[in-house]
Structure formats: C-alpha cells, structure tokens
C-alpha cells in the first residue's frame, strides 16, 4: 500500500500539533487535584529507613502519628491518639481513638501497632540499627496497657522527642500485621491509616495519593488526589509550573519575581533553619593557629557571597542556630570583611604566602560562593585553590577519616526543629565522621549531652547559646546563611508547610 505524503498532509499534521497539546493539558488541573513537583523520586518508604523529606511528606499524608503538627506550625495536636501526655520526664502515656482502620484491609490501629512501630527503631539482636534509630535513641520500651492504651518509657529525659520522634515521620504508626507480611516490600508500599492512601507509585513518573475513604480521624483529606511528579531540574520545574503542568513547586529564589508576574500564581517565602558555613580544619597547619583562622574569617566577605551567589535573596547567618530555633544566639558577633585586619593577623601568626584548598560541591551556586571566597582571600594575600566535587565524592569525606586532609570546606547541612540535631555534628566523637572542622572541645561535648536531656527550655537555651559561643571562639566556622525556601503555587491551591520549608503538610493542602 503506497502512502502519499503530500504537502497538504504535512500541513494537516502540523496543524494537529496544538490539538495534541490541548489534549494533554486537559488532563491537568482537574478540580480537587494538586500536582506537586518533587525534586527526586521516592526511594524508601520505611519510616525507620527513609531517605529524605519526600518520603517524610508522603508518610505524613498516608499514615498517622500519635500527635501531629498543626498546619504551618510547630504546635501539635493529637492525631491517632485521643489523649497523649508527658506524665514524667521519662514517661508518655497515650490513649488511641477507637475505630481507626489501616488501608488494604489490615484492620484496626491498636496500641500493639504503636509498640511495634516505635520499637522498630531500637537495635536488633545483632546490634543493627535502622537509619533513623537516633530519633528514638531515648526509647526504652513501649508498654501496652490495653487495646487502645499504652506508655512510652524512656531511658532518659528527651525534650526533642516530641518534634523529632512523636510528631515526625519517625513516629509513624504502621500496621504490625502488614509490616510483618510485607517484609522488605515495606520500602515501596504504605499501609497506613492517614487521610490519603498511596494509590500508585510509577517510578520516575509520578506518585499518586488519593483521599482515603476509610479515614476515621478528625482531619480528613481536603483534595481528591495529589500527584507528585519528579522533576530534577529547577529550570524545568519552573517551566512546568509556568505551563500550568504543576500547581506547586519549590523555585529558586531568583525565579520569584518571574512567578509573581503571573496573576494566577503566588509565592510563599519561608526563611530556612538549615545552615551553610565554611569549615576550617583546626588540625591542619597553619590553620591550627587561631590567628590564621581569624584572619580567614576577616578575609571572607559573607555579604558579598549573599549578594553574588544568592542574588541577595537570603539573610546572613551569624551563628549555628537559626533565629526560629530554641537557643538562637541573638547577640552573636557579625564579622565584617576586613582584608587589612586579615593581613595583620597573618603577620602576627608569622604566616606569609598562605595557600589553601577550598573544597565544595560542584553545583553552580556553591561554585560561585567558592569563587567569591577565592577573590576575597586573594586580597588578604591568601591563595585559594577550589576543589569542586560531585555529591558522591563530597559526602564520601564523611567516611574513614578522609576529612583529615580538608582545609577550608563549604558545607551545607539541613536541620530539624530541635537544636540538639544541629549541635550533634560538632562534638568530638564526630571528628573523622561529620565534624570536618576537627575541632574538639570538652565543654561543648558536655553541654551537648546535658542540653539533650533536660526539659527546662530556658536552661536548654542558655546551654545552646554557650555552645555557639565556644564555636565562635574557635573561629572554625564562618557562617553564611540559613537559606530560604520559595514555593510557587497556583492561587487555586492553598498549601501547608512546616516552618522549615522542607516538610510539606500534604494532608492539609486544599483548594482555595
């Protein structure tokens, strides 16, 4: 059979292009549906071995915890629990709401499921621990006192437990029966009792959450469906948003103005609680001299880094803990760029013609930061060689004492809401692992240990401030920023986000 591709046929085919596009667009933006962009695909949905915030966000929508955060807030309220209270520093009592059902026919949620779910975080008989074991490091055991009642018994007071353990994904209540039956498949399937169910996960294409028709809790799903689409490139995500293919996405700070020009779109800005800093290896000569470290601190123009690499979209950090966190050191000194003072300090230390290597990640922004540091320090007579690494090689420095050869390093860390999560990486035992400054201080270690197990908030705050003062005295960390999160969303959608900007409260997303 001969096919005649005439010019008319070609013209007809070209004219059909817009129709194809329209056909694909009709599929999006359905009522009661949100399409959110996620930066990477799901990896592991086991709460004890989850990988990142994407899993967190899905678990929080599809499962229940004893208590949950309120929308856009760190205040909590009971979720699966009818009542939950701290009766002593080492005991938390709870009573569950009856009739809360697991999906896939796995029955009612009981105190046995709570015990099973929380005790999964304890080391097994061989001493193997799951990735998130530390979140429940204070847990001794869970005592079941009735079908719906129980006690969480702690080994020591743990003030961080509420925000890191109970209300977070580490507090996810799984069906004991389903988890046992599923075995390893727990990493790809969720059997929960939350307002949404995980309807479909098509790897690298989408994750579909649908309203759970059997949900019996007091915060039902506000939408029929939430579709999560993995889009790794920020620019593609922005284009997809502008083309109305996604209704919610995080965008680069530099894209905010562009998004705001669309009358149907809005931007939510959340100041971050993460921390990026330049770590100085205090063991490596001549950086082992405090004067040299101070010289480097004066020789780096953090404001220029913010203006140049971040386009002025973030505020400058002056200490480890962000202003939103307990223990933030409000009076921390801000070191202004002073190359002359840097030169004088180097001369005092008897150091000339200093050459250092600055190790950093190889993304565009971090490399821009490194180049600014290089130019700044050149003014103070310090020659900087930039060593930009991909994530694999960079994070591999946390293995086998590889960090001993680092000199200056730009380090970005993410945070949790309790200050102990941030300070833990600066203790002496982390040297050779994640303490790349290799700074050891007995007082800091003692304060970290004490602050993690006292419940008096004022006392805790004082200890964290003192720890930051010690870090400042060491001149081993040059703080850059706590970051910022900007979210573009269609005005037809009202998102809900925890104040860190990382945890999306999908269960509270609703149509505007």
């Amino acid at each position: 059979m001969a096919t005649d591709f005439s010019r008319r046929t070609l013209m007809q085919a070209a004219a059909a292009l817009p129709l194809l596009g329209m056909a694909s667009q009709i599929a999006f933006g359905a009522e009661g549906e949100v399409i959110a962009r996620i930066e990477t695909d799901l990896k592991n949905l086991d709460p004890a071995n989850r990988v990142g915030s994407i899993e967190d966000n899905i678990l929080q929508a599809t499962t229940q915890t004893l208590a949950r955060f309120k929308p856009n807030s760190l205040e909590w309220e009971p979720d699966a629990a009818k009542t939950i209270s701290q009766v002593s520093e080492t005991e938390i009592d709870f009573e569950l709401n009856p009739g809360q059902m697991f999906s896939d026919g796995y029955g009612e949620l009981t105190a046995d499921d709570v015990k099973f779910s929380l005790e999964r975080f304890l080391p097994d008989a061989q001493g193997n621990k799951p990735a998130y074991a530390d979140d429940w490091g204070a847990l001794d055991y869970v005592e079941v006192t009735g079908k719906y009642t129980g006690k969480i018994i702690l080994k020591n007071p743990a003030p961080a437990l509420w925000v890191i353990g109970i209300c977070d994904s580490s507090g996810t209540i799984l069906s004991k029966k389903a988890t046992t039956e599923l075995g390893g498949k727990i990493s790809t399937k969720v059997v929960g009792s939350g307002p949404y169910v995980l309807k479909e996960w098509k790897p690298n294409e989408h994750v579909i959450l649908e309203a759970n028709p059997d949900y019996k809790g007091n915060a039902p799903a506000q939408l029929k469906r939430i579709i999560l689409k993995p889009i790794s490139e920020w620019q593609t995500a922005l284009l997809a948003f502008q083309a109305k293919e996604v209704t919610f996405t995080e965008v680069e700070p530099t894209a905010v103005t562009e998004v705001e020009q669309d009358p149907n779109s809005a931007v939510i800005k959340i100041d971050g609680i993460d921390y990026e800093w330049i770590g100085v290896n205090v063991e490596k000569a001549p950086l082992d001299d405090s004067k040299v470290r101070q010289a480097i601190r004066y020789g780096i123009d953090v404001d220029a880094i913010i203006a140049g690499a971040w386009s002025g979209t973030v505020s400058r950090a002056k200490t480890l803990l962000a202003p939103q966190l307990l223990g933030h050191w409000a009076d921390a000194p801000v070191y202004q760029y002073d190359p002359e003072k840097a030169k004088a300090l180097l001369a005092e230390a008897g150091v000339s013609d200093l050459k250092v290597t600055l190790t950093c990640l190889n993304d565009a922004r971090t490399q821009a930061e490194a180049q600014i540091v290089q130019a700044n320090l050149a003014e103070a007579g310090v020659t900087v060689t930039i060593n930009a690494l991909d994530g694999g090689a960079y994070w591999g420095m946390g293995e086998g004492d590889k960090s001993k050869d680092l000199e200056l390093t730009i380090i970005p860390y993410s945070s949790k809401f309790d200050p102990s999560f941030q300070t833990q990486w600066f203790v002496s035992s982390q040297v050779g692992v994640w303490n790349w400054q290799r700074w050891k201080n007995a007082e800091f270690d003692k304060l970290h240990s004490e602050a993690a197990s006292i419940t008096d908030e004022d006392e805790r705050a004082r200890k964290y401030v003192r720890m930051q003062q010690l870090l400042d005295e060491s001149a081993s960390c040059i703080w850059i920023t706590h970051g910022v999160h900007n979210f573009a969303h269609a005005k037809s959608v009202t998102p809900a986000l925890l104040p860190n900007g990382v945890n999306w409260q999908l269960r509270y997303f609703k149509s505007a």
Binding site: A131, S232, G392
Partner: protein, 321 residues
C-alpha cells in the same frame, strides 16, 4: 559457510566482546569513584555500620573478579539483583523505563532521517544556489548546537509561549495521543544535530552519484530528473548513511540522558545518571548493560544490512589481508 553467514557470526562475536569489555571497564572504573550510596542518601545519618550494610547488600564487599563473575552469572539467567534502596527488582526497574528511551531514540532517528534526507536532497539538487548555502549554514548550526540548548528553546517556544506541547513526563500509559505529544519535543531536540549531519552527508553523496556515468547516461536518454533522483540516485546515495546510523543510535542513546533530564522524562538515561550521582552501582551496571546491548544490537543490524546491500563487504572477510 556462505560469506554472509560467516560475516554475521564474526559480528556477533565482536558484539559479545564489546558487551563484556564495556562491563569489565565499568567494574574497573567503579573502583576509582569516590563516595558511597549510604553517605549520599543518608548524609550524616550514614554510620560506618550502615555503610557496611549497604556495601554488603550491593555485593561491593566482595573482590572485583568475584563481583564480575557473579554479575555475568546472574545476568545470563536474567537476574540483575535487587535495588538496595527501594527493594525492587533491578530488571523490572530497567524494563519500566527502557521503552521510553527506545521510543525517544527511535522517534529521534525517524525525525533525523526524514528531515536530514529531505534537506540533503534539496541542497544537492540546487548546488551553489542560495537555498544550498542557507541549508549548509543551517546544517552546521544544527550540528554544533547541543541537544540540551535546543531542548530549552523548544520548551520556551512550543510549551511556554504557544502552549502546544507539554513540558514534562512521558504521557499517560495507554493514551497514544498523550504519549505522542510528550514525545515530539524531546525527539526533536535529540534529532536536531543528526538532521544537520545527515543533510550534509546526503548532499555530498547525492552530488557524487548524480555526476556518475550512468546518471549522465539516463539524462541523455531523457529520463526526467525527478525520476532519476527518486528511483536511482537517492538509493545509491543512501548506502553510506546506513553505516553512519549505527553510530547515530549510540549517539541518540547517550544524548537521551540530557534530553530526559531536561524534559523530566523517565528513561534509562535519567536512571543511570541518578544512579551514578547516588553511587548506586548495581543500577549503573544493569543500565549500562542494557544500553550497550541496544547499541551493539543496532550496530550488528547495520553491519548486516550493509553487507546485504553491498556483498563485497561480506566477501572481503575471506580475502587475505
């Protein structure tokens, strides 16, 4: 044994050697790549114990010869292991995304052939004319512009300005129209360089054929020029293109990585890319195995087609050097 059969057997052996060689090389390279999966995925939560657990589950605690032996033994039986992160069967992960990449490369190839041949013919029929010059400049521009740059421009024009075609994904399964609409821009971005390359190749080849004795003879007998080109000259002119397309398939598959990332399109390119970033080596090995397999199969087919089109190629094997 007939020359053509001998030729196919030899090419099959060469394809197998290429496949094994590529995998061996990959295993060696992996040993020099710093970083590990646990540290990347878990960051500061990656304790030495967890790292050791991950390494053990990925088989990286064994010696290299042992790893290679186990990989090939499993691969032969269709078992590529289990992904330690998701707990999913690696073969099913690959087979989930492979069709998307094959569709993309196939569509890219078709677009390249259609436009490359057409533009090459137009240029060859009007040598030295303005249109020949314009096509020459355009072809070089196509060849030298990277696929990802073309991809971004296509997105800006056809998705953002005109809203004709979608930005991301591969389309809904079971909806051919939707899948086609998701294929057009990535396939065009992928093919643009090859359109330019093929246009130049076809032009040069066609001009050579058109100046040959038998074509001049046909003209002298009054055979219309259009008929000469369509029925005689073009067929001969396309022979060198077949050989080039073997390389073209490999180029399409490797360029698919960038295009898939930009269009957030699931495919083997993005799978391997993300696995490399995460140091998830079993996925990298399996992905490379399938990529190389596709490449050597296409090359094998091209060699065979070439041998069938020109029996001198197969016969040359039996001649002493």
């Amino acid at each position: 044994m007939p020359a053509i059969v001998q030729f196919i057997v030899q090419r099959l052996a060469a394809a197998l050697l290429t496949l094994v060689g590529a995998i061996l090389l990959l295993f060696v390279i992996i040993q020099f790549v710093p970083g590990d999966l646990a540290s990347i995925l878990l960051g500061p939560r990656a304790t030495p114990e967890l790292r050791a657990q991950f390494a053990e589950r990925m088989g990286l605690d064994r010696s290299i010869p042992e790893q290679i032996f186990l990989f090939f033994r499993r691969a032969v039986s269709g078992d590529l292991g289990t992904d330690v992160v998701t707990g999913r069967d690696i073969l099913s992960i690959i087979l989930d995304v492979l069709p998307n990449t094959l569709q993309l490369a196939g569509a890219g190839l078709l677009i390249s052939l259609a436009f490359g041949i057409a533009l090459g013919c137009i240029a060859a029929l009007k040598p030295g004319s303005l249109i020949d010059t314009v096509l020459g400049v355009a072809s070089v521009a196509f060849i030298t512009t990277p696929a990802f740059v073309v991809a971004i421009f296509l997105l800006l024009i056809f998705s953002l300005k005109l809203h004709w075609l979608p930005v991301t994904g591969a389309g809904a399964p079971g909806d051919p129209l939707d899948r086609l609409s998701h294929l057009i821009l990535p396939a065009t971005a992928l093919s643009i360089g090859w359109i330019g390359y093929l246009a130049r190749l076809v032009r040069a080849s066609l001009l050579e054929v058109l100046s040959e004795q038998h074509v001049r003879m046909m003209r002298a007998y009054g055979v219309p020029e259009g008929r000469i080109v369509r029925h005689f000259a073009l067929r001969l002119a396309l022979v060198p293109m077949v050989a080039v397309m073997g390389i073209g398939v490999g180029d399409m598959i490797s360029n698919a990585v960038f295009v898939e990332i930009i269009f957030a399109r699931p495919g083997i390119g993005t799978l391997i890319y993300n696995a490399i970033l995460n140091r998830n080596f079993p996925i990298v090995q399996a992905g490379i195995l399938f990529t190389v397999l596709t490449y050597v199969t296409c090359n094998l087919l091209v060699d065979v087609i070439n041998a069938l089109l020109d029996p001198r190629i197969a016969r040359s094997l039996n001649k002493p050097a």
